[in-house]
Each structure stands twice: as structure tokens, then as C-alpha cells.
């Protein structure tokens, strides 16, 4: 069976909700059924066939070709299967996903991996604000899984994050790790201002000192040799990411905070 390929063939006027196009929701549907599914775009419902050229039938391997930043909610609540996106994706990529894989060649926008529970998202471009975050007003962001960003992320990366990993090969924006409850964010490039703002627990791992320094709300706890770091780097070996090739290290400077709250989070900076 060949991958179910959806090639966007129209210039979208409004944003398009792609949440029905996952392996879970397409289970048992014939190509004709899939062509007839109505997607919501602005105030209209439009059948899939009018928006996409459809080929292939393997719903566990879905490909979006010619994708645009107007395609929202791709991979919504998926539990298995693989989605590959050629081009950009809009907001809420992989929201609530609990398993499976998403890979995208271009950029994603706000709330990538919002409240995801498991699985993996690989972004080869840049990601927008609130990667792995909680929706506004909610208490828990991502609670499992891995998000790999080859480019940069926007602001509030990992806001309210609860578990799981966000690996950023480029730079992270302002307020990285804000209100984090737990989990791990690692950044190979630079980080913006207000790193770890209102962080409760969790780990922010950096390979160099932040450009804007460490906030006064974090205590310098001195240098440490942490045995878990080489083990964690070893676990990255299987990833399709620069993190797989990182030179393992265990010596870090540790800063604990945010002491404006319970102060059990940590920023680890390679020395």
C-alpha cells in the first residue's frame, strides 16, 4: 500500500481545520469516504476532494504535499501512524497526540505539540510560540513525547510543560520554560530573555551561558558532575537530530529556581 497523499491544490482563503485527517479518525474509511469528508474552513465546510488531490490509501502513512501555514490541527489527537508534511503547517500541529510520528519540512506556528501526551514531532524548520504548551487557562502542557526542532522556537517554549522533552537545535525565544511544571528542554543555540520564568520543576539544559544572563530568581548552586547527563545523551543516539551527535558531557553549572515560586526547577549550563 502506498501512503495516503493529500496535495493541496487550492489557494486557501481561510484557515483549514485538518483534525479529521488522522489514522485514528480515518480508520475503516475508503478513499471515496475520505474524499467526501468535510473540513471546516472559516465559516464553510469543504469536502477534502475539493481541497486536495488524493492518492494512495495507507492511512497510517499520511503525506501532506504543498502544505501551507493555513493548515491547522494536523495530527490532532492521533495515537498511531505517521504524518509527513512537505511545506509549512499552521497552528496546533499534533495537539493532544498520544503516539505516532509527525515530521515536517517547513515551519510550524503557534501551539505546536500543545498538550501532547506521547509520540514524536520533528520540525525541520522553525516553530512558533508556545511549543509543547498548555492552552490558555489550562494547567498542564505536554505530558509526554518528544518534540525536535531543527530551527528556532518562538516565545514561551514549554509553557506549563508537565513531562516529555523538547529538543531545540537552533535558538529558543523569550520566556523559554516559563511556568514549567516538569520535563526537559534542551537548547543548542541561544535562549531569549526571562529564561525559566515562574518555573516550578524541570530541567533546562543549555550548551552555553544565556546571552541575557540568568534571572535573579535563580540561585547559583555551583558546578556539578551529573551522571544522568551521559545516559540522557546516549538515549538521544536513536534520534534523527543533531542531538544524536552531541559530544557527551557531565560537568554543568547548576542554577535552581524560580525561587519566586517553589524553586525546584533547574537550569544546567555546560562548562
Amino acid at each position: 500500500m502506498s501512503a495516503l497523499t493529500l496535495k493541496l491544490k487550492v489557494e486557501l482563503q481561510q484557515r483549514l481545520d485538518c483534525s479529521p485527517l488522522t489514522a485514528d479518525k480515518l480508520a475503516g474509511k475508503s478513499p471515496a469516504d475520505i474524499a467526501a469528508i468535510e473540513l471546516v474552513s472559516g465559516r464553510l465546510s469543504i469536502p477534502v476532494a475539493e481541497l486536495f488531490e488524493i492518492s494512495g490509501e495507507d492511512i497510517t502513512d499520511i503525506r501532506f504535499e504543498n502544505s501551507s501555514a493555513k493548515l491547522d490541527h494536523i495530527g490532532h489527537a492521533m495515537s498511531h501512524g505517521r504524518i509527513t508534511i512537505n511545506g509549512d503547517a499552521g497552528a496546533y500541529l499534533g495537539q493532544f497526540m498520544s503516539g505516532g510520528q509527525i515530521e515536517i519540512t517547513g515551519n510550524t506556528f503557534i501551539y505546536t505539540g500543545c498538550e501532547m501526551k506521547g509520540g514524536q514531532i520533528k520540525i525541520n524548520g522553525n516553530a512558533g510560540d508556545f511549543v509543547g504548551a498548555a492552552r490558555s487557562g489550562y494547567k498542564n502542557g505536554m505530558t509526554g513525547g518528544t518534540i525536535i526542532v531543527s530551527g528556532n522556537t518562538g516565545q514561551r517554549t514549554g509553557d506549563h510543560m508537565r513531562r516529555g522533552m523538547i529538543l531545540i537545535e537552533g535558538n529558543a525565544g523569550d520566556y523559554c520554560g516559563s511556568r514549567m511544571v516538569s520535563g526537559t528542554i534542551a537548547v543548542l543555540g541561544d535562549v531569549g530573555k526571562h529564561l525559566g520564568y515562574a518555573m516550578k520543576r524541570g530541567t533546562l539544559l543549555l550548551t552555553k551561558m544565556p546571552k541575557y544572563g540568568i534571572s535573579a530568581n535563580f540561585n547559583d548552586c555551583g558546578s556539578h558532575t551529573l551522571a544522568f547527563l551521559p545516559l540522557m545523551f546516549a538515549s538521544f543516539k536513536k534520534l534523527d537530530s543533531q542531538f544524536a551527535h552531541i559530544d557527551s558531557f557531565s560537568r554543568v553549572q547548576r542554577y535552581a529556581g524560580d525561587i519566586g515560586g517553589i524553586g525546584m526547577g533547574e537550569i544546567l549550563v555546560k562548562i
Binding site: R135, S136, G137, Y138, K139
Partner: protein, 555 residues
Amino acid sequence: MLLKLTGGRIFDPAHNQNDVVRDIYIRDGRIVEKPIDGRVDEEIDVRGKVIMAGAIDMHTHIGGGKVNIARTMLPEDHAEAIVERTELMRSGCGHAAPSTLTTGYRYAEMGYTAGFEPAVLPVNARQAHMEMHDTPIIDKGGYVMLGSDDFLLRMMAANADQEAINNYVAWTINHAQAVGLKVVNPGGINAFKFNQRKLDLDEKNEFYGVTPRDILHRLSRAVKEIGVPHPLHVHGCNLGVPGNMQTTLDTIQSAEGIPMHLTHIQFHSYGTEGDFKFSSGAAQIAEAINKHKNITVDVGQILFGQTVTASGDNMRQFAGAPHSHPNKWVCMDIECDAGCGVVPFRYKDQSYVNALQWMIGLETFLMVDDPWRIFLTTDHPNGAPFTSYPHLIKLLMDKSFRNDMLSTLHPEAQKATHLASLDREYSLYEIAIMTRAGAAKLVGLADRGHLGVGAAADITIYTDNSDREKMFEKPDYVFKDGQLVVRHGQVVKVTWGTTHVVKPEYDVSIEKSLQEYFDKFHTQKMANFKIHNDEIVDDGRGSLTIQPLHKGGKL
């Protein structure tokens, strides 16, 4: 246009009609006499069906700042209960804190035609009225809240005469467009700001030296003397504290025969016996209510599940905040006028305390003899959302259903209650008293809650069904002011209800000292504080109904 409802079984306690078969004639939104020539334009055959006046929820938090805070704080409450628009109805959302529109539709679908917001802060009254203005179909009104405001406490600390307090109360009711007066944790909200974390009935506010007992006495007298029909609406001291039963009994005594309405009495009926130091005080409270004819209560029944508690009582909400679920809460001061606390809460049937709260509420319902003095509420949304009323009615009307539910609850709590031995089952007539005639009488609505000639044609028609939950959740027909708004539990027409108010007289000389007080301390000018009649009427969608006063005057 004359409409005839033919052959229904009428339950109209205001006219002592218990299951009487008679026809009802409706013209121009009113119930009228049988026309002399017998000609009717439309006839609906309702033979065998149960007919009651539209139900009245006399205590439900449907407007005002705290509901909006709850809505803002709980996006999950909306995201999980989204209501799509239809050709007729606008979209909405929410379970515990539904949107204004959804609130109106849901009430109407259950046969309710009026709801009264019990905690309108004077300074926030405009907001409350705007939200209620946006609540379709049902009539509404508010009880304005005093008792922790500095102006009153200053007057009391200076030992002002009762006349001055009466003037202040009447002025506030007028200009906040209220139908009654409420007091929440008398003086306690103010005491909280002076770092007092509890305030008993006879404990002094550290700054003003005023006790809750004084406040209750002054305000209940004021309400009586200015002739407001709804007695002082009291949310007493020590809400939710084990052992608060004694405070409640003292509060009943302290009324000294003046009419007083004790609201969500379930939360005020706790003892301290047993291994858990938490027990039911329902028997003693019910006995006191039965004995003191000046006292009315509504229950504030809890039902299990997720809800949100929203109250002006920031002192007790602050104490309850560690139990919030999900873990987030708000306690705040509202412009130095009063306070507000919003704590989301999940009542669990396997929790000893929650299970006992459920039993205490039902015990109170079953042990208070006079249905004219007890009202069916869940203190929406504090005990449960109002949409659970049909379930609650079934609990009251069906003993075996009640006992089946009881047997699934926390086993230790079951041992701590006599609920299983209470045989009483409410009749349809008693339900009609509690939710219609009694409620209308209590709030002071002359033309609602009954089916006599001249009454507003707010009418609910049910198919009799031994499963009372099914019966009450889906009325066959609901008429609001003579218009058919619900058929088979579905809204078929959207109308806009009126706002009920009272207009007690006051001496304008009170404005001299108020003017000074507003200029010096308040966040708005006195002229802006006043809500004008045309604000309620707005574009013509709203309207004001001024209810008649009782005969007031000195006691």
C-alpha cells in the same frame, strides 16, 4: 389572540388547587377568564398532563463579576461543553459556569421561567444586570449585597439611628435595581481585610467593633421597615465549618421574629461528632426552622461531580482554596465594597465529607415540614449546576431511588445518617409549592408563580411520568408570558424576560453623606453608580417590572 389549554391537571398551590382539572385561557401574555362567548383562536389539548406555573429559581448565580471570573478561569468548563448555534439559538458553552445565552436556554428547557442572582455587589451591579440582560427567555432580578461595605460599617460604628440605615438600604436597592437585600458572611468580608480569618456571630470586626449579629439585626429590620417583600437574604457566618450548626441556630434566634431567609442552609448545618469530627446537624436545624415561622431557607444541595464555587464570602473561599479542583482559584477584593472568591470543586461520592453533605441537604429537605418555607436550590453552581434539578427532584420524590443512591456512597458516611429511615416523598403539589408558589411569594412576585386570573402566563406543562427526573427535565410545553418558548424540551422561540425590582422610598438627604463618601473613597462617581431604568430597558429588549412593596413602617 386567545389560547385555551384544555383539560390539564392543575397544580396551583397559590389557589389551593391540587390536581384540579380545569381549562386555562391566555390572552396578551396573561391568564384570563373564560371568554363569555366561548370563542378561542387556538386550543391545545393537554388532557392528562401536569400543569404548573413556570418554575422560579430564587437563588442562582447567573450574573455578576464572580461568574465571569469563573468563566475566565475555567476554559475547560467551556471546551468540554460547547453548544453550537442553531437557526434559532446562538452558540454558547459551559457546564458549571455556562454562558449567559446557554443559561437562559437551559433554564427554559427545564420549565424554569425566572432566576434570581443572589450576590449583586452594588459597585458591580451594572455588570450583573448586563449579564442578566443577555440571558434569554427567563425573568431575572438580583439581591444587592450589603453588610461588609465601609459605608454601612461606619454608620454602625458611629451608632447611626435605624432611620439612616433604612435610607441607605432603600437607596442602594433603588439604584442597584435590586429586588431584595443580601448579606454574605455579615461583616466577615470586611474583617478579612483586617487579617481576621474567621468571624463568629458575636465576634467583633477588629477595626469597626461591629459584630455580625448587629449587622443582621440592623439589615433585617431595615428590609422589614422599608417594606421590601423579600426578607433579608442571609448567607451566614462560618460557611462550611464543622460545628457551624450552633452558629446557625444562634442566627435563627438572633432574628427575634423578624423575617429572615437563610440561604444554602446545607452548608451551615454541620456538627463535629464522630471519628471524622464532621456530622449532620440537619435534625436540629430543621427543628429550629419548623419552630421559627419567620425563617425561610433554601437548601443548596450538593450533587456529585465537577462544579465551581463562586461566592462573595472571600473569608471562607480562602479557607477552601486548598481543596480546589482543578488546582486554581481566585480570591479578591471588589473595589473595597465587598469581596469575591471563586474555587473550582469536584464533589466526590467516595469522600466522607462530600457524601455527608449530600445527605445533610436531603435530610433538611425531608425534615422541614412546611414546603412554603424551604426552597429547592443547589446554590448554582456552588453545590451543583442548575441543570441537575430534575435529578434532585427525583431524589426528593422517590424514596427507593434515593436509598439506592445512598447505598453507593462512602460507607462511613452512610452510618452517620438517618436518611435511609426518612420515608417522606415529596408530592407534585409540594414540588409546585417549593419551586413556584412559595418561591414567588418569598421573592415578592405578585404576578408570577401561580395560575390565577391576572397572572403572567408563565406555564410549564409536563407529561406525568413515574420517573420524575425524565418528567422534569423535558416539559412538553413551556409558555413564557403567553408565548410558546419550549416544545418537547426544545426551545422553539427565544424571548426576553423582564427584570423584577422593588422601589422602596428613601429620604434624599442620604445622598449628602453618600456624595461625600463616593467623592472621597469610591472608584466611580455617585451619579455613575446609579443604574437608570432605561439602562435595563436598553434597546427595548429588556424591561423593568416593579413589584409591590409590603406595608412597611416601624416595627
